[in-house]
Symmetry: C2
Subunit: 85 residues, 2 copies
């Protein structure tokens, strides 16, 4: 995990609408991210970005992930992983 | 959420190898499930079962989900959702 949680904090404006700034989903269909493994979060975001993860909320998540660099994803993942669930 | 966490407890033997009986991933690539939204967990499992969710650990998860009924998935999801993260 090479992400910077401080940098990630400034990159999660779009995420927060559904996943909260505190990493708690704002509705039951949105997973909680607080305290989740950063490694897993990176893997999930890359699967969305690369068009591999369908089903669920992928129609929303794939476009969200499209413009993100590996570093963006690492930082955002580190931020949510750093939060207390 | 119609799942029965008590019934789910008896159905998660296969899950626990990677996600723990306590819902904490046994390695960083495995997401924590404890306290996760049951609605989200059901959605994720159905996406694996229906072959829509690729990438990440889908090569392991898709076959795992294949034999599960909607009720199995609801029960297992309710179990992990009921745990303290």
């Amino acid at each position: 995990q090479s992400g910077d949680p401080e940098a990630g904090k400034d990159k999660i404006a779009a995420c927060a609408a559904c996943h909260g700034t505190d990493g708690m989903g704002t509705a039951p269909i949105y997973p909680n991210l607080a305290g989740q493994s950063a490694t897993y979060l990176e893997s999930a975001m890359k699967a969305y970005r690369d068009g591999k993860r369908g089903g669920g909320m992928s129609a929303i998540m794939a476009p969200q992930a499209q413009g993100l660099s590996d570093e963006d994803i690492a930082d955002m993942s580190a931020y949510y992983a750093s939060l207390e669930p």
